[in-house]
């Protein structure tokens, strides 16, 4: 046994000191390969005049200075922020109401709870086909329902943003509702019982108990929606039926679409990388603002 001592000690040391690193390593190794490396490479590319399948030349920060003066880029920033506000605010409110309703006693509760996830698991191609038909200028279902015959939803900023926001909400409201629902289930019931005995109405209970207790979930969903909303790509591209130009005059071109257009249509890989980094900075900035905003929720002043 004596000879085994150093080995045993080494094993103990391994257990205590090294094992945790081994346990967390798979994620960080994968992150380094698929996250960190592309991130760094993008910086490298963005400092070049790098033409896809063509020449490349070091130009320093030129891409960034060009970008700041590029009206098309700012157009895409305005579109992205506009659609972000238009889609995210009603989406989270809708999710909250949905979760509150699903939290009540009702028949077929499980069925409805699973039902809100259906939009998420629907194939994107099917979604594109359906929404393309719904918002079509000719023979579109929404134009028929609203009596706006021949309204071209893609022609103007406001109509196109509305159409895209509807798509975003349809896909993501259920997902957020489930997160809220899970958080609601974790709220102790005796809080509500006590409130009922004190004579608080159910509306009052919702605002004074449910919402403050949901704060961590609200912060989480706000942050994920911010990141998702600012990198919005799939829905507007589907709305434009595969075109990354975002309408005839870029009415609904988002930053992510502009980045794609620059890289793969204009073949300006370096410039597109600069756009990617600007988008990253914008996401950090807006996430910070939404975090500070949601942190104040719930009256814990």
């Amino acid at each position: 046994m004596k000879q085994n001592r150093p080995l045993a000690r080494a094993a103990t040391w391994f257990d205590l000191k090294a094992a945790p690193y081994f346990l967390v390593s798979p994620y960080f190794i994968l992150f380094a390969i698929f996250g960190l490396f592309p991130l760094g490479f993008t910086v490298w590319v963005s400092l070049h005049d790098w033409e896809l399948a063509g020449d490349r030349e070091w130009i320093g920060l030129q891409n960034y200075t060009d970008l700041v003066l590029d009206p098309d880029f700012w157009n895409s920033v305005v579109n992205t922020l506009g659609m972000f506000v238009m889609a995210t605010v009603p989406q989270l409110l809708l999710a909250l109401m949905l979760a509150n309703a699903l939290n009540k006693r009702m028949r077929f509760r499980l069925l409805f709870r699973l039902g809100v996830l259906v939009p998420m698991v629907t194939s994107i191609v099917a979604v594109a086909v359906v929404f393309g038909q719904l918002f079509a200028r000719d023979y579109g279902a929404f134009n028929w329902l609203l009596g706006t015959d021949g309204l071209d939803w893609k022609a103007e900023k406001l109509t196109s943003w509305t159409a895209i926001s509807v798509m975003v909400d349809w896909r993501w409201a259920g997902y957020n509702a489930l997160i809220y629902l899970a958080a609601m289930q974790a709220i102790p019931r005796d809080l509500y019982e006590a409130a009922s005995i004190d004579g608080a109405s159910s509306r009052r209970q919702f605002w004074q108990i449910t919402i403050p207790m949901l704060k961590p979930a609200i912060i989480f969903t706000t942050l994920t929606s911010t990141i998702g909303g600012l990198s919005l790509f799939t829905e507007p591209v589907m709305f434009a039926q595969g075109d990354v130009g975002g309408g005839s005059l870029g009415q609904f071109q988002t930053i992510a679409m502009y980045m794609y257009e620059m890289a793969f249509r204009e073949r300006e890989y370096g410039y597109a990388s600069a756009v990617a980094w600007m988008l990253f900075l914008l996401i950090v900035l807006v996430s910070l603002v939404s975090f500070l905003f949601t942190r104040r929720i719930g009256g814990t002043k």
Binding site: P26, G54, A136, D138
Partner: protein, 431 residues
């Protein structure tokens, strides 16, 4: 303690496996077995090669052909191809290049094999001269691509809708209705009076490109870029004429963007009665309209005289592992006999003088298009077609002009504002 040691060991092994797994993700492909070679051919739209592939495989045992086809050219096929060329892997052994795309790649001939090394120089007589010359690199040293087809112009129209509007339906009579674009516009106004639900023309894109390709030969054979590559859209009368003519037809237009699902739906909903059609467009019309519309379409001559729009090439990327076999396949596919076969399959107008003169092409009729003598209509003028000099940034600039024409149709811009914006945005894209 024992338990946790086991866990740690397991985690370490798992981590090792994951790393090893990611490190050698892209291992060798299935080339190891025997002498069998798989050649991948990348095409877009309709090339009509299916039967030729079967034929080639039968004649060359040991060669298998894998065909990858994309329906969408500018948004799917081209970005993918550029990524393959950038990263040096993934491209097919033989790739199809549309004329505009080829033009933009002529400066990067080092990414493609030189057909001269595979007997390309002896093939010169198989092609219309300018088509052959355009396949060379910018310095003229390397033959980087071989031509497949050219895009002679015509005007396709719906006989049943013309009848409804009280217009003649017989193709020679219809051709006489519109010797010029002004006549075409006048005919359209007459049509629109009688048939309210259907617009006369599908949208601005096909018209605009057709007129531009007619006007270019009158103005030095170039469009947005002169022969030195300088941006001249604001100075070239061809661009202005095409732009203004299309805007003049705005009220007759369904305003649909070509190749979008709405445009495709339009074929089945009688949204429009005519559209400018280069030879290759006939296959597109047939595919979108379906069997129910067989015999309802016909082909008349295009207003304003002939023009050349589109046409493609085949090239072999240097990254191909079997350049010799790939070059042989590309030469086979662009041979006069193969061009005839492709013409029969999808109406791709040959670029070989021998094929154009062949009775199978010259006397061909298209039963879907009411037995229109497509050979006579397209092939007759094909050998006299002029090449239009396209700049490296042609596709980007063309997209700007097409989008702005759509925006004018949507009422977002006046014609004047649109013109100014198109010139400026085009200049930006050309830089």
């Amino acid at each position: 303690m024992k338990f946790s040691r086991k866990t740690a060991a397991f985690a370490a092994v798992l981590a090792g496996v994951l790393v090893a797994g990611t490190a050698c993700g892209g291992s060798d492909d299935e080339n190891a077995s025997g002498g069998d070679i798989t050649l991948t051919v990348d095409t877009f739209g309709a090339f009509g090669y299916e039967e030729l592939f079967t034929q080639y495989e039968a004649a060359h045992p040991g060669i298998k052909i894998e065909h990858r086809n994309e329906k969408e050219h500018e948004k799917v096929y081209v970005p993918k191809l550029l990524q393959y060329l950038e990263t040096g892997s993934g491209a097919g052994d033989v790739v199809a290049l549309e004329e505009g795309v080829l033009t933009s790649l002529r400066g990067q001939a080092d990414k493609f094999i030189d057909f001269n090394g595979y007997g390309g120089a002896e093939l010169e007589a198989n092609f219309i001269k300018w088509k052959y010359d355009l396949g060379k690199s910018l310095d003229g040293k390397s033959l980087m691509a071989l031509g497949t087809d050219v895009g002679g112009l015509a005007m396709c129209y719906r006989t049943d809708l013309f009848e409804k509007a009280g217009l003649p339906t017989e193709r020679d009579e219809v051709s006489k209705l519109w010797p010029t674009w002004a006549d075409y516009s006048a005919t359209g106004a007459k049509f629109q009076d009688k048939v309210a639900d259907t617009k006369f023309v599908d949208g601005p894109a096909a018209l605009y490109n057709a007129i531009l390709s007619q006007e270019a030969p009158k103005n030095g054979n170039y469009t947005y870029f002169d022969n030195a590559g300088a941006y001249v859209a604001d100075k070239n009368p061809a661009v202005k004429t095409a732009f203004d003519t299309v805007n003049g037809l705005k009220d007759l237009s369904a305003g649909l963007k070509a190749f979008t699902p709405e445009w495709q739906t339009g074929f089945k909903k009688d949204s429009f009665a005519t559209m400018a059609c280069p030879a290759w467009m006939l296959g597109v019309i047939k595919e979108n309209s379906g069997d129910a519309y067989a015999g309802k379409w016909d082909v008349a001559s295009v207003p304003g005289g002939g023009g050349n729009w589109g046409g493609s090439y085949l090239a072999v990327p240097k990254q191909s592992e079997h350049p010799k076999e790939a070059a042989e396949l590309a030469e086979f596919l662009t041979s006069p006999e193969s061009q005839i076969a492709a013409f029969k399959a999808v109406n791709a107008l040959p670029t070989s003088p021998q094929a154009l003169a062949d009775p199978q092409v010259a006397d061909a009729k298209n039963d879907y298009f009411n037995d229109a003598p497509v050979g006579k209509i397209f092939a007759a003028g094909a050998s006299t077609l002029q090449p239009v000099q396209l700049g490296v940034e042609n596709v980007s600039v063309r997209t700007v002009f097409e989008d702005i024409l759509i925006a004018i149709g949507q009422g977002q811009l006046s014609a004047g504002e649109g013109w100014t914006k198109a010139i400026e945005d085009g200049r930006k894209k050309s830089e």
